[in-house]
Symmetry: C2
Subunit: 174 residues, 2 copies
DNA sequence: ACTGCCGGTCTGTTCACCGGACCATGGTCG
DNA sequence: CGACCATGGTCCGGTGAACAGACCGGCAGT
């Protein structure tokens, strides 16, 4: 979003939430974590974000309890915490709004309920089951709106195949 | 949020949405519009935002089709457009996350379905009706978590009484 | 020992936000 | 009719964040 931390004095919890996820890049970073990205370099390739800012955001998100940082195979690995996974409705509703109100009519990505294969509606509900599946029960796949602006990096290519959210994204070499 | 416009190259519509509502202050301004605030000075009193930035945000939101600007009684009046009202799930889910993950356990504000009086759940559903009411069908009232940080301005005082979203907030003189 | 990858840090420039002064319009009151 | 004041801005100098790009330390492979 866009702050420098400091919506002082605002009693409203919206302001507190924005202090955590309101800075520039933060929600795009979190989206990538839902998609299964877990490493520094993959985020950098996908987002074209400055290294310094990415470092600052990851450190901040870890400090705020949204991510954990562990080490795997000698490299840092970042994972969403429970609080981080609870941000899914925020990411989903913003992306949906963007599709419907600033983009084309066709969605760039479609989410379906893994249990039954039905696509979820604009509010995230599974029409077949009547539930609102959490991100762990969703599968993403590219939508009908082939986006001419689509990026070409390892992460973007990996997302051309259907992928279950929160599971590690397998990035093809080269 | 926190950008200066320019998540260039990002095909994802989340990035497009963030170009519109991702800058600092924007979502807090929109929250106030849902609460029924419609005028420059009231926003300024409630948010402690610089005049220049508030002007820039309002102009930007009008340009992006989220607000309309009309004149009433010789003063500008800003109203949410259909696209603006469609942002309710974003504002709601962020505020809810803030309550549950960075604040106390008790909500600062509670939303209930105007048709039946039932409080909506964490995903915005009315448990009695089984629907997800839009903002026009919701009533806000202060929650049980009396917030010690609560502000004291005309807008905050007006919100101490239950109020239907999107209807004009009556601001007591002085 | 050399090379390359990964995950950073450091630096200088640009740009947005901040607080506060200033200003134009329109209504009110004596 | 003139003074005053509320509203809704604009303008300006200072500060802090983000950007692009250079640099660097640890580790793996060969």
């Amino acid at each position: 979003m866009a702050l420098g931390t400091g919506y002082d004095q605002q009693g409203c919890y919206l302001a507190r939430a924005l202090e955590v996820v309101g800075e520039r890049w933060t929600l795009l970073i979190l989206r990538d974590f839902f998609f299964g990205v877990r490493r520094f370099t993959d985020l950098r390739d996908h987002l074209d974000i400055s290294r310094a800012v990415l470092t600052a955001r990851l450190d901040g998100l870890v400090a705020d309890g949204v991510l954990t940082r562990t080490t795997l195979d000698g490299h840092p690995e970042y994972l969403l915490t429970e609080a981080g996974r609870a941000l899914w409705p925020v990411v989903f509703s913003l992306a949906r709004w963007g599709e419907q109100h600033v983009g084309a009519r066709h969605p760039a990505r479609v989410f379906s309920h893994a249990d039954c294969g039905t696509d979820v509606d604009a509010l995230g509900r599974c029409p077949a089951c009547g539930t609102v599946p959490g991100p762990e029960d969703l599968v993403v796949r590219p939508g009908t709106g082939a986006n001419p602006m689509r990026r070409d990096d390892r992460v973007a290519r990996a997302l051309e195949r259907p992928h279950r959210l929160l599971t590690r994204l397998e990035l093809a070499a080269v």
